[in-house]
């Protein structure tokens, strides 16, 4: 044990000496430019890989998503509509802002764990866990004031006169005053709701 520890210390020292000594072979210009270019490539590669995980095709490549929540999305207005604008998984479930996106992606590593250990790998397991999973999303959207909804739906751009009477009534009072946020009333617009009391969904 002691021998292992001293070996680690010796190795660290060796690498530290290498890293802290000025280069004998490469010029300063080469090192700076090289570092700069490598940085761009790393950054580009990182973001490209990140964007790949941010597509409908990626989300639905797992049967957990494809057979449960994705089929439920398909008949809804966000997927099938007259104007051909479509909101897919990441539009609502991943923040668009970079910092928030990274934070959400780090949280999502839990989902990789779930995939590996088959937390919801059958329909029954999914249904049992659905309420908990739904509540996570509701809490998240409530906390960020329905940010993902507002990426497209802007209160200031709403023409109340073109809404139905009920919608106009609610949006011009509760939403405009900030008493309520989108998710308070619009739960279950893209997926089927789990077993909750009707009154609970609108709170």
């Amino acid at each position: 044990m002691k021998a292992l520890f001293s070996r680690i210390v010796a190795l660290t020292k060796k690498y530290w000496v290498t890293l802290s000594t000025p280069s004998k072979v490469f010029s300063l210009g080469f090192l700076t430019m090289g570092g700069f270019i490598a940085g761009i490539m790393f950054w580009g590669g990182f973001n490209t890989a990140l964007e790949v995980t941010n597509t409908e095709a990626f989300c639905t490549s797992c049967h957990e998503m494809r057979n449960n929540v994705f089929v439920e999305l398909q008949p809804t207005i966000h997927y099938t509509n007259r104007s051909g604008v479509r909101a897919t998984c990441p539009d609502c479930h991943v923040p668009h802002n970079w910092t928030d996106k990274i934070a959400r992606k780090m949280q999502a590593s839990k989902e990789v764990w779930g995939k590996i250990f088959g937390t919801i790998d059958t329909r029954e397991k999914f249904l049992d866990k659905r309420l908990e999973l739904a509540q996570h999303e509701w809490t998240r959207l409530k906390a960020n004031n329905s940010l993902e909804c507002r990426n497209c739906h802007n209160l200031n751009s709403m023409d109340f006169t073109r809404q139905s009477k009920r919608a106009m009534q609610m949006h011009s009072t509760e939403l405009a005053s900030g008493n309520k946020t989108c998710i308070d009333c619009h739960k279950g617009i893209a997926h089927r709701l789990p077993d909750i009391k009707a009154g609970e969904a609108a709170k």
């Binding site: 008949p75 809804t76 207005i77 139905s164 009477k165 009920r166 009333c185 279950g188 617009i189 089927r192 709701l193 789990p194 077993d195 909750i196 009707a198 009154g199 969904a201 609108a202």
Partner: protein, 153 residues
């Protein structure tokens, strides 16, 4: 024998064709010949004006004056109750479900709607913005009684 069957069969076919031209409305299928695919009419819009419609007779379940597309009403959840439920009415100002809906089959009042009244669209239906193909000649009992009285005089 074969000849007879052929004659009878052609008579049958002719008589079915004859019926389409006798002034009856063509029905949902339209007037297209049987071997042709008729062009479907456009999907009608659901009435969404939020104006309560009258009832044709006292016990008629009120019709829904708004659109209900994709409303979830299943064993997990009842979307209608997010506005028409007893605890939701103060906020939504929607008409509350009738008190009869809280009664079970033994006429006991429950605090929640009875399972036999749970599936709203079994009785309550939205309206489509369409021209009726035939005129509706229904008159309610009150008017019918008045008309009968007037006829007697």
């Amino acid at each position: 024998m074969k000849k007879l069957i052929a004659v009878l069969f052609s008579c049958l076919v002719l008589s079915t064709f004859a019926q389409t031209g006798d002034g009856h409305p063509p029905g949902l299928r339209g007037t297209a010949p049987l071997d042709k695919e008729p062009v479907s009419p456009l999907m009608p819009k659901m009435v969404n004006d939020d104006i309560r419609k009258g009832r044709a007779y006292a016990m008629q379940p009120p019709v829904i004056p708004h659109q209900i597309e994709n409303y979830q009403v299943d064993r997990n959840f009842n979307k209608c109750m997010t506005c028409h439920g007893r605890d939701r009415v103060p906020e939504s100002q929607a008409p509350m479900v009738s008190v009869t809906h809280f009664m079970d089959r033994d006429n006991n009042f429950r605090s929640e709607i009875s399972p036999r009244r749970y599936f709203c669209t079994q009785c309550h239906v939205p309206q489509m913005d369409v021209k009726t193909p035939v005129e509706n000649t229904f008159i309610d009992a009150e008017k019918a009684a008045a008309a009968k009285k007037a006829a007697k005089k």
